[in-house]
């Protein structure tokens, strides 16, 4: 058990969870199919780079039940789905750029027929040279976007004044999202030429925009509806759009409903993942272990088209120095074009890749300086009004407090001694310890995206319906939205109904991403509730002939002004008869934030989230496998509005980070083929591979003004605790073999451990 006092449980969570545990929740594939529904399937490239010479669809078309095979020529609008940069075709025209690139859409009466036809499509592709490594791409000038650079101080000179300077490389692997619900969409044509799209997406507006573009229609002709999704983790932020566009095109051409749920193998082959990075670093420290200068170059493996890579790249720089203050920083990042699927958003969004490099650099320095990395980490933590390389100063900085509290509550010094004693006493089993502080900025770093809207209807019987742009994907945002509305109106949660996320009710939404969804949508929702409350307040002041025009209070199902008080339901009934507007549209745009992409300076984040985790692991030095014994952490939740949901985010995110750092390994062969292209070969943590114990302490803090109800964003930050697992294992290897050669090359698979132990 963790030591958290049990917070009051949200009734809303329980409503959602009831549906889950009884199997009643309806995901995309569970919606009843309309009569006449057709099934789509993609025929994708089996060659990573090449020119399409010719193809023959005849045999495939002869399969019974095949209605149409869609080629790029059939697309009524633009054959283009690139979100940031228009460099990605929906269907290949004359070249393919990665294995998994869609070429045709088979539309059939049944999934079996589509499958049979897929096998019979003949295509002749002339192979071209491929690149799978970002450094190769860099050398050949193959970029997806312009390089970017952040700088602070005078790095060049600062290195001259350092007692110690170390250089090295640090690489981190990609990561497959493995949202349990695969990608998919269902398009239904309406009589007037408009379309209703059910999509498993984190970005309903992105789907709407992409479908409109591909169909050559205006956005008001496309309605996208999302009830909830079976996991996203960033994988459905931008990459849910192509499937929606495909079923929409197919529905457009056949005038029938068309559905496509990707098979797991198709999803693994065709969709992008977390970006693998290769990086160089140079770190300079003074005699006391203060980091004086830091340089790094990040080579991002972006895949075949830009997707969200430029934005991911930028966040790598934002988090290049993690939770440390370094006065002289120069960091450069390159988005490299390769022949693998376009990589995309994944919880942390480039931040983890940047943090891994600075942690590796510190570990390297500590090893050479014969001190513990913990000493160097502790000496360089961020402090109040410290400047980040992008010019923002810390405010209410909690880095030191998280560290101190973790150190004290979990007896770090005692733990270090115990590990040392254990290692002295055992030859075949070694323990490793590592501390992982984090600092993560909250906001879309593309400032214009930081806005949201909400639609609120108070019905004449007093019940409330709310719609926002937030997509529920397991992170508990539904519960949080209902909590916000219930608290605002002084109602109980069961009086609020949260509607599906729908582009017709709430338009121009930012995707559910960047950990900021509850903040943005919650604040918009508060704004909408406040508008209705103001109208009710004004009305009852008049109605009760109160001359002072006091603000009404909304508490415990009652509206009260001074000594007057009325039951909510009755009040709404009266207000309705007096023709008071009981609906509102709330809007919110995060104040203060700005960022100048030209100078690389600004104030891009509403606030930062901090935390410190202590990892302990045990390595079997005979076999090379390992267990994470414990993770003990102190996290800055702000003033958590739902402790149990937030705890779930910490535990789940941290374990996902451990997976990325340990067992999850994406392997592309020299032909650009994904060798770990099924769940038999790509392993994510099971119940036995998670830490034996996890303890989470809430940092005692008032929280941030710009966080919803002062409850800080919690989606992404915990993933980066997982980096601690890598270094704990690394340290256990060094305890067995102090001369071990263990390159900083994540994930730390059992292979790398055993080879390291005996290097």
């Amino acid at each position: 058990m963790n030591n958290i006092e049990k917070a009051k449980k949200s009734d809303t969570y329980s409503v959602d969870a009831h549906l889950h545990v009884t199997g009643k929740t309806k995901y995309l594939d569970d919606l009843p199919e309309l009569q006449g529904t057709l099934f789509a399937k993609v025929h994708y490239a089996k060659i990573a780079h090449g020119k399409i010479k010719n193809y023959n669809l005849e045999k495939a078309l002869n399969i019974e039940g095949i209605v149409k095979i869609v080629t790029y020529k059939d697309i009524p609008g633009e054959n283009q789905i690139g979100g940031i940069i228009p460099d990605e075709e929906l269907l290949a025209t004359d070249e393919v750029h990665f294995i998994g690139m869609p070429i045709f859409i088979i539309v059939a009466e049944s999934e079996i027929a589509a499958h049979k036809a897929d096998k019979l499509i003949e295509i002749d592709i002339e192979e071209k040279e491929i690149i799978t490594d970002p450094i190769d791409a860099y050398k050949k000038n193959q970029f997806l976007s312009s390089p970017i650079k952040f700088a602070l101080g005078d790095t060049e000179n600062a290195f001259n004044n350092c007692e110690y300077v170390f250089e090295g490389t640090a690489n981190s692997g990609g990561q497959e999202h493995v949202y349990l619900e695969t990608q998919g969409a269902y398009a239904i044509p309406n009589a007037d030429g408009s379309f209703l799209i059910y999509s498993s997406t984190q970005g309903p507006t992105a789907v709407q925009r992409t479908v409109a573009r591909v169909l050559g229609l205006s956005m008001n002709k496309i309605e996208v509806d999302v009830n909830r999704i079976g996991g996203g983790f960033g994988g459905k932020e931008d990459q849910a759009s192509p499937w929606a566009a495909m079923v929409a095109v197919s529905a457009f051409l056949t005038n029938r409903p068309v559905k496509y749920i990707l098979e797991r193998g198709e999803d693994l082959q065709m969709t992008g993942k977390r970006h693998p990075y290769k990086s160089n670093y140079k770190i300079g420290l003074n005699k006391e272990g203060k980091i004086i200068a830091y340089q790094a170059s990040y080579f991002q493996n972006g895949g075949a088209s830009a997707d969200l890579s430029p934005a991911v790249l930028e966040r790598t720089l934002f988090h290049g120095t993690n939770a440390y203050f370094i006065p002289n920083v120069e960091i450069n990042a390159f988005s490299c074009k390769t022949n693998i699927p376009p990589n995309t958003a994944f919880r942390g969004f480039g931040g983890p890749q940047g943090m891994f490099v600075i942690e590796a650099a510190i570990h390297h320095a500590a090893k050479e300086m014969k001190v513990s990395p913990i000493e160097i980490q502790e000496k360089n933590l961020l402090f109040e009004k410290a400047e980040f390389s992008y010019g923002q100063l810390t405010e209410d900085c909690e880095a030191q407090r998280c560290w101190d509290q973790a150190k004290e509550k979990y007896n770090l010094e005692d733990k270090r001694k115990k590990v040392e004693t254990f290692n002295n006493e055992n030859d075949t089993v070694k323990k490793g310890l590592a501390v992982m502080p984090i600092c993560f900025g909250i906001s879309f770093t593309n400032t214009p995206m930081n806005n949201a809207r909400a639609l609120i209807h108070v019905y004449s019987d007093g019940s409330v319906g709310i719609s926002t742009g937030a997509v529920e994907m397991g992170q508990g945002v539904s519960s949080k939205m209902i909590q916000v509305a219930a608290q605002s109106f002084g109602l109980s949660e069961d009086q609020i109904k949260l509607e599906s996320t729908n582009t017709t009710r709430v338009a121009n939404t930012s995707p559910t991403a960047a950990s900021a969804t509850a903040d943005l949508n919650g604040k918009a929702l508060q704004d909408g509730c406040d508008q209705i409350k103001k109208r009710l307040s004004d009305f009852f002041n008049k109605h009760w002939e109160i001359t002072s025009n006091d603000h009404a209070s909304f508490l415990d199902n009652k509206i009260s002004i001074g000594s007057q008080s009325i039951d909510w339901t009755e009040a709404i009934g009266i207000a309705f008869l007096h023709r008071i507007n009981l609906s509102a549209k709330g809007h919110y745009a995060t104040p203060r934030i700005n960022f100048n992409k030209e100078t690389g300076k600004g104030h891009p984040f509403a606030y930062h989230v901090y935390g410190t985790a202590i990892f302990e692991c045990t390595v079997d030095c005979l076999r090379g496998n390992y267990e994470i014994d414990s993770v003990e952490l102190v996290h800055d939740f702000g003033s958590s509005m739902n402790k149990e949901i937030d705890l779930g985010q910490i535990e789940g995110g941290m374990v996902q980070g451990i997976g990325w750092m340990t067992m999850e390994e994406l392997i592309y062969d020299e032909k650009g083929r994904l060798k770990s292209g099924n769940l038999a070969n790509y392993k994510i943590p099971d119940i036995y591979s998670v830490p034996k114990t996890v303890s989470v302490q809430y940092l005692d803090t008032k929280g941030a003004e710009l966080a919803i109800l002062r409850s800080k964003a919690v989606g992404e930050p915990p993933l980066m605790y997982g980096i601690g697992a890598y270094f704990a294992i690394n340290n256990a290897i060094l305890a067995f073999n102090p001369n071990a050669n263990v390159p900083y090359d994540a994930p730390m698979t059992t292979e790398k451990v055993l080879i390291g132990l005996y290097s």
Partner: protein
């Protein structure tokens, strides 16, 4: 036509028997609670409980319906998440998952609830270890499992407080499972378990590999189901030889008292073999004919120098398992032939059986290298040895040279070091998704050493192997 009970409804269906059970559940019966995620048995989101009546007893097992042939549902009770729901309340398993926030996106949740409910129906001695083992084949990407662990604690507490005898009726009476379970045994007795086994059709056992490799082909395939063939489901020990039918599953053997007599202390091995659901489906015969160079049970049986009895329905022949594998996926099995029985000599007081398996993920994974051996030592001299290793060549490899090398020699440091060299000469690993050739060679050495250390714990210091 086959018949079974789906939740509380008796079903007779003429659907193709090759169809995956999940497709039947979702597409034919429109029960949408069981989720399709991987079609590989790799995640457990489609888990169902299968109640089987055997020797007058009804017992339940969890299985992944995405790769379960519909044929194997015949005569059984199939329980999906819908069949575990109460009309007006949550079951204690469901309530524990809700109260401990054990569900986030919810897609894996029905599978967890099914597996945990299955635990109630299979255990008679609830334990923390046991209930966690029941969900070893269920993958969750959201929670990090800690909240699910807390839910299992709650379930255990409730179980211990209210259940003593662990009968189906007691579970019904205490509202752990719905009332329709009470009558299932009687209703199953009314259903014949006979099934047509057409000679020319494709033989299917548990389906755990066929349905992963060729899911669409199986959808329309004409099958000859042998999973429940009583002829292939026996186990016995006679004169120090353990003999068992090829249709027994890994789960059957793991639960078999006879098998644990034959191989004492083998519980740790079963934990290393896939997941609870897959062990309940995967037949030993299937593992052998699959001829995967890293088949766990294949390596285990090779290390025991097992024999197999091959039949074509009329004639039978017995061969040594080590002669069965002739090349990559080439086996000594003719058209219409199938493995009927497997037999091995059980270890005696002087001999040690040892099994090792290393994979990327410690449990529920395919081996990078696996190893098994049966070594008999008298007065510190090796008198007999059989050793097998997987993942280091095109076939499950019996280590002929190494066995020869060991026999007649004194077990000491020199023998260990010389055996390392013989081993390296005998294996020929390649680099693939499971690891580099270098790693597999290193691993092979370490696992061989682990075997020696198992026999004689302080015989060798691993520190000696670190490069100078």
């Amino acid at each position: 036509m086959i018949e079974f009970i789906l939740n509380d409804k008796k079903i007779s269906t003429k659907e193709n028997l090759g169809m995956a059970t999940l497709d039947y559940i979702r597409k034919v019966r429109h029960l949408k609670g069981s989720k399709l995620v991987c079609k590989e048995g790799e995640c457990g989101a489609c888990s169902v409980l299968i109640g089987t009546l055997k020797d007058g007893k009804l017992h339940y097992q969890s299985m992944t319906s995405c790769i379960m042939p519909l044929a194997n549902a015949h005569g059984k009770h199939i329980v999906t998440i819908e069949g575990l729901n109460f009309e007006d309340k949550l079951s204690p398993v469901q309530k524990a998952m809700v109260d401990e926030f054990g569900t986030q996106c919810g897609f894996c949740t029905p599978g967890f609830v099914v597996s945990l409910s299955g635990y109630l129906l299979t255990t008679n001695k609830p334990s923390k270890e046991g209930i966690i083992a029941a969900i070893d084949g269920n993958i969750c990407r959201c929670t990090g499992y800690k909240s699910i662990e807390r839910a299992t604690d709650r379930i255990l507490t409730e179980l211990v407080q209210s259940i003593q005898s662990f009968t189906v009726q007691e579970l019904v009476d205490n509202h752990f499972i719905p009332a329709h379970f009470s009558n299932i045994k009687n209703r199953l007795q009314q259903i014949s378990t006979d099934i047509e086994r057409k000679e020319d059709n494709k033989i299917i056992g548990g389906g755990t590999d066929l349905y992963v490799q060729r899911p669409f082909e199986m959808y329309e395939a004409e099958v000859k189901p042998i999973y429940d063939d009583p002829e292939l489901n026996k186990i016995e020990i006679i004169d120090g030889i353990c003999t068992f039918g090829a249709s027994l599953t890994m789960g059957d053997l793991g639960r078999s008292k006879i098998f644990s007599t034959a191989l004492p202390n083998s519980a740790y091995i079963f934990k290393l073999l896939s997941s609870t659901q897959i062990r309940n489906m995967a037949t030993i015969g299937g593992n052998l004919v699959n001829a995967s160079p890293i088949g766990d049970f294949t390596i285990l049986l090779l290390g025991l120098d097992s024999n197999i009895l091959i039949s074509d329905g009329r004639n039978e022949r017995q061969i040594s398992l080590k002669d069965f594998y002739q090349g990559y996926k080439v086996i000594d099995l003719k058209e219409k032939e199938y493995i009927k029985e497997i037999s091995f000599k059980i270890p005696n007081k002087n001999s040690t059986f040892h099994f090792e398996k290393i994979s990327q993920r410690k449990y529920f994974d395919i081996a990078t290298v696996n190893f098994s051996s049966h070594i008999e030592i008298e007065n510190n001299v090796v008198v007999s040895a059989s050793l097998a290793i997987g993942g280091v060549g095109p076939i499950p490899m019996y280590l002929h040279n190494l066995a020869k090398h060991l026999i007649g020699k004194t077990l000491n440091t020199n023998l260990i070091e010389s055996s390392f060299k013989i081993l390296q000469d005998e294996i020929s690993p390649i680099s693939d998704a499971r690891g580099s050739a270098t790693y597999k060679r290193l691993l092979a050495r370490q696992l061989l050493l682990a075997q020696f250390l198992n026999i004689e714990p302080n015989i060798y210091s691993i520190k000696k192997l670190v490069s100078a």
